[in-house]
């Protein structure tokens, strides 16, 4: 049943309003924690704090607590024997997932990202995963790519579309 268990773990991870980058990070965190647990006699090494933010650390603490306290939880069902297979399936799932790619010109704070994910999921009516990428060339607005089709709703595109009008209006100020 490692496949079913992996499905459940995957759903529990993507349930939260996080982008695909965070999903990958959380799977990696969980894998590191469980590897230490099973193969380093519980003496887990300190995680590198550089790339683990507070939200992810809290999430990790949460699942560690769940494993301890709720014996029927999915995290408690992971054992030394099924661990490797479960994470293989999980990593494959992440590789194969088809995210909605959102290009934005600036880095957004975590709560804004969460709001964005919630909004997209509500609009699309399904737990779609968001791949948020930074593209400063957009200037403003955003561009979306889904199934290989890229739609540009950015300020850059607006300027391109209206460049003649914009240039004409600038001409008025040239003496």
């Amino acid at each position: 049943m490692p496949n079913d268990l992996a499905d459940k773990i995957f759903l529990s991870i993507i349930e939260e309003p996080i982008p695909i980058q965070s999903v990958r990070k959380r799977i990696h965190l969980a894998k590191t924690w469980l590897t230490n647990l099973f193969y380093s006699e519980g003496k887990s090494k300190e995680e590198n704090g550089e790339y683990v933010d507070e939200i992810d650390t809290n999430w990790l603490k949460n699942i560690q607590a769940t494993r301890e306290e709720e014996k029927d939880s999915v995290w408690a069902a992971i054992t030394k024997t099924n661990f490797s297979e479960i994470f293989e399936v999980l990593e494959k799932k992440v590789r194969e997932v088809n995210p909605l790619v959102l290009f934005i010109p600036i880095l957004l704070p975590t709560n804004e990202v969460e709001n964005l994910v919630r909004k997209v999921r509500a609009d699309m009516g399904r737990p779609v995963l968001l791949d948020i990428r930074l593209d400063p060339d957009l200037i403003g607005g955003a561009a979306i790519a889904w199934n290989g089709i890229y739609k540009d709703y950015s300020l850059r595109q607006k300027i391109k579309d209206n460049h003649e009008t914009i240039l004409a209006s600038f001409q008025k100020y040239i003496r």
Binding site: V101, R133, N147, I149, Y150, K151, D161
Partner: protein
Amino acid sequence: MPIQQPNQTIQEIGIVKSVRGFLVFIEGLPTIKVNDLVESNGAFGVVTALLDNLVSVFMLQEISVKPGQVFKRANQTLTIQVGDFLLGRTIDPLGASIDGKKILTQKGTASTLEKPAPPISSRQFIKDQFITGISLIDMLVPIGKGQRELVMGDARSGKTSFLTDLIINQKDTGIICIYASIGKAITDVRKLIDILDANKAFTHTIVVAAASSDPPPLIFLAPKTAFAIAQHFQKLGRDVLVILDDIGNHAKIYREISLLQERAPGRESYPGDIFYQHAHLLEIAGNFNETEGGGSITALPVIEFNMTDFTSFIPTNLMSMTDGHLLFTSTLHNQGMRPAIDISLSVTRVGLQTQYRIQNAIAGKIKSTLIRAAQLESISRFSTELPQETQLLLHEKELIEELIVQEAFMFYTPEAQVMAFALIFTSFLKDKDKYFVRLYKNQLLTAFMKDPRFKDFPELIHTGKNEQELIDKLEGLSHVLTEICTPGAKQG
């Protein structure tokens, strides 16, 4: 390569899933086709295969591609701009100038690199000789316009100098020469360009160069680009010569690409379709009728190999898909033979039909003399007194061998060549030795081309039925020949 990015809000993109050297696997690009171009950060790749959920792309530039990188569809297939502006230029397989001269911005005709060869209905019989100006080739192993002749041999056998001469000799014939340098050192290409330039032969030549340091997919495209350019000129009714130097490198590059794609290796680790790749290229050559624009494409693929490994996979493949081959050997080259072609092992399958009747007959006599003399030569080593007939035959062989040696940058018209070879069978050279021929052959050949006393000969060679007519006519001009071969004699 200038790419016009569409000014639209919707376009196709793909995201890199994995990278293996210059091979990139991309997810997305829903309506992309094979040979379409994709672009990321100014670097281009060409789509080579459509897999289940992925698109396989070969990068045409040396850039580092990482998983997650976004590629855009360039809305263009693999094409280059072709036109007269390419003459005298050196370009890479994507059509960008690499000769340090002005950047090529001219808009010519867009020509796709991958298109099917013209059908049989648009081809015609090869009837015109491709004049190389080199006696040995034009007389004994003639090439027709539209023929595919493999140039093969071992290292340092004079292949490149022969090819250079060939291009230089086309400067007054109106033939356009396209030299595709496939995976060679860029210094070799530079040397070739300098020689062509010094001999004023670069104005009718286009060099397509992909150096050994270029990405393998780019090297792989070099012969395709050469043929795309050749097809453009051929459709305008021009005769084109395409030299692929060397096709063995092309095979090795294709093997590298295929192994990287995890395609099953076959004989000598080459992929199963290596024969198709080369045949597909070479079948573009030919002589075309008016429906296809007239003109012809003569192809000379070159392959270098070790003479001990004569029957290896790629050379035998190429031998089977060409209309003959010229075999160069370093042994002959070291003996002073120029060009160092082994006549007995060289073949031409369509060239003979392009020769004039008398030219063909004289060539037949020469070959027959060489074969008979070769048989008697070994016997003659054991005997001091030989019959007069045998002595004459061996003497003729000696003179022929001297006559076919041609120094670099020399051009002789086919008529002059025929007259020179016919001279072997006249009484004029009966009592002359090879040193006499060595000393006066250039004077004789120049006189045959320019001296008004020989002005009737070309007509006789073109229309004559019997070689004896020519030999007899030359006999009648013995006094003129003697005059030409006098030290310090003035010509014409």
